[in-house]
Amino acid sequence: MKARLALTLALASLWHRKKVLALVCLTLTLSVSLLLGIQYLRTEVKQSFTSTISGTDLIIGARSGQLNLLLYTVFHIGDATNNIRWSTYQGLKQDNRLAWLIPISLGDSYRGNRVVATDENFFKHFRYGRDLPLELDEGQWFEGVFDVVLGAGVARSLAHQVGEQIVLSHGGGRTSFSNHEDTPFTVTGILAPTGTPVDQAMYISLDGMEAMHVGWESGVAIPGRTITPEQAKGRDFTPDAITAVFVGIDRQILTFRIQREINQFAGEPLSAILPGVALSELWRLMGQFERALLGITGFVVVTSLIGLIAVLLTLQSQRAHEIAVLRATGASPALIASLYILECVALALAACVMALALGMAGLALASPWLLANYGLQIELRPLTPEEWTLMALVPVAAFTVALIPAFNTWRQSRRLGFGEAADQ
């Protein structure tokens, strides 16, 4: 009965002071939205990051550390330490435990975007996110030697259309002085956005990679020795080496055995990595930053709670008469103190609900835009237990800080005489 009275009084009192408290509540709402938003994005980004590549069981490259191999094959950061011989790749193809292989050849670029030479298996078998296949927004996957398929990000930022001809550059780097002028490529397709490094790359055939390097054996084009697309017709462009292979395995129980076999391959020094393991390791490295960010946001919430307490303490002097009335009517000091706690927790709950609504509305509005402009796939989903916990901590923190004015009032109202107001 008294709990109900306390609740009625607390809510009526909040409503009475709504103008002042609305501002405080707004501050709290914004900081809680920030906290929730960052936690939400953290989960999403981690999810999207650790599923940059999925479905691929092993990545095989020249002998190197697993992070290095992951970085240059999947994220196109850094360069390969060495290549894999074509004969080794052919040998792997004979292994019937491997369901599929995607050969990857790196080295060239186009205005800072990596050119990846591969074959049709890339389009067929590459998976990202929750086992999503690649899709073409426009055109089709390359067929000819001088066909190129653009990632969504490349096509958008450079405004290229299907059918356009582009000249690729030799080597990495944003600006290159040696371009493959004689062998322009025709855009045949544009991939749909994936939110992965695939968007920032472009795909040509292994033959195309080989063909444009004819006459470049010394590292620069030797005039007269390069070939034109006309001359390329009918020629065989089997490469000597490739950079890496993505491998899918049917019976995944064999993954570790195959990995060990490849690592111990006698023909040449190779490394085979599990992309999932390497991705988590990479995330652990980068995770420090986002944890620090979350910590800072936590402090923002604490700061706004302290602001709330400051306002409640200021309002306390206005409440002296009301407390005198309640005391004389028979309310215990504990009941009066509980009003402060109830008010504070109610404000925190209101802020949480509003932050949730704000976050959901914001996400619903922003997610198509994020996908279209940044290839970021952030969707509305139910909150994880971790996010619920984080949000539940807000009223708990509010309860804790409310103990300050509550204790203050409790002490004062205990000593109050009949009809006395606390400030007198």
Binding site: M1, K2, T8, A12, R17, L326, A331, S332, F418, G419
Partner: protein, 220 residues
């Protein structure tokens, strides 16, 4: 109500304030008069159980209230006493009716004594104290002082407590309002069999009461 040998002092070094013995039968009213500084407010605090006496006993409806614990004293006050102050009697963020029903939220006993419901009783009291019906749901801050004091009287009367402690409730009212207020209060108190202990420095009000007592403010 029985008061005997009551004395109070803020700290042991200061002279003790001693009060006359009082015996007030249920339903009888008492006018307590005294100049300022004679300890009127202190006496009310002692009677309400909000201050502890240095000596003596206060029995209300047979209960020695200073033998009760702090929580039990608060509950006893909620159950058996109505209060009216000089001013600022009402909780500003509650409606008129919610202010009147406040004691029933704190005391099961007083809620049970209302008939047929707490709200009906509150409305009957408000009507009897001539508060217009369109004010009942309104915020109390917009009402006149006279109306606010009458609402406080309704709050003190609801659930028929044994005793009403009134601390100069009429000092902010003009002469007409004062007499009307007092008449209404005493009539309704009589109907509920509630005693009123009325404290005032205004001797002219004494004629409304059968029992009168002068506080001297004796210090020993």
């Amino acid at each position: 109500m029985e008061v005997s040998g009551l004395g109070f002092s803020w700290d042991p070094v200061q002279p003790r304030l001693s009060f006359p013995d009082i015996i007030l039968k249920r339903g009888e009213h008492l006018f307590l008069h005294g100049p300022s500084g004679s300890g009127k407010s202190t006496l009310l605090s002692l009677l309400a159980g909000m201050l502890r006496p240095a000596s003596g006993t206060v029995r209300v409806l047979g209960t020695d209230i200073h033998r009760l614990g702090a929580g039990a004293r608060d509950q006893f006050r909620a159950d058996h006493m109505g209060v009216i102050f000089q001013q600022f009697n009402l909780v500003p963020y509650l409606s008129t009716r919610a202010n009147v029903t406040l004691p029933c939220g704190l005391s099961e006993l007083r809620r049970e004594r209302t008939e047929p419901t707490v709200e009906d009783e509150a409305e009957r009291l408000l009507a009897a104290l001539s508060i217009p019906a369109d004010h009942w749901q309104r915020k109390v801050t917009r009402l006149s002082i006279g109306q606010q004091q009458r609402i406080a009287a309704a709050r003190a009367l609801i659930g028929a407590p044994g005793l009403i402690l009134a601390d100069e409730p009429t000092s902010a009212l003009d002469a007409d309002n004062r007499d009307r207020f007092l008449e209404l209060l005493l009539t309704l108190a009589h109907r509920h069999n509630t005693s009123v202990l009325f404290v005032s420095h205004d001797q002219s009000l004494a004629r409304h009461f059968d029992n009168q007592l002068e506080l001297q403010g004796d210090r020993t």
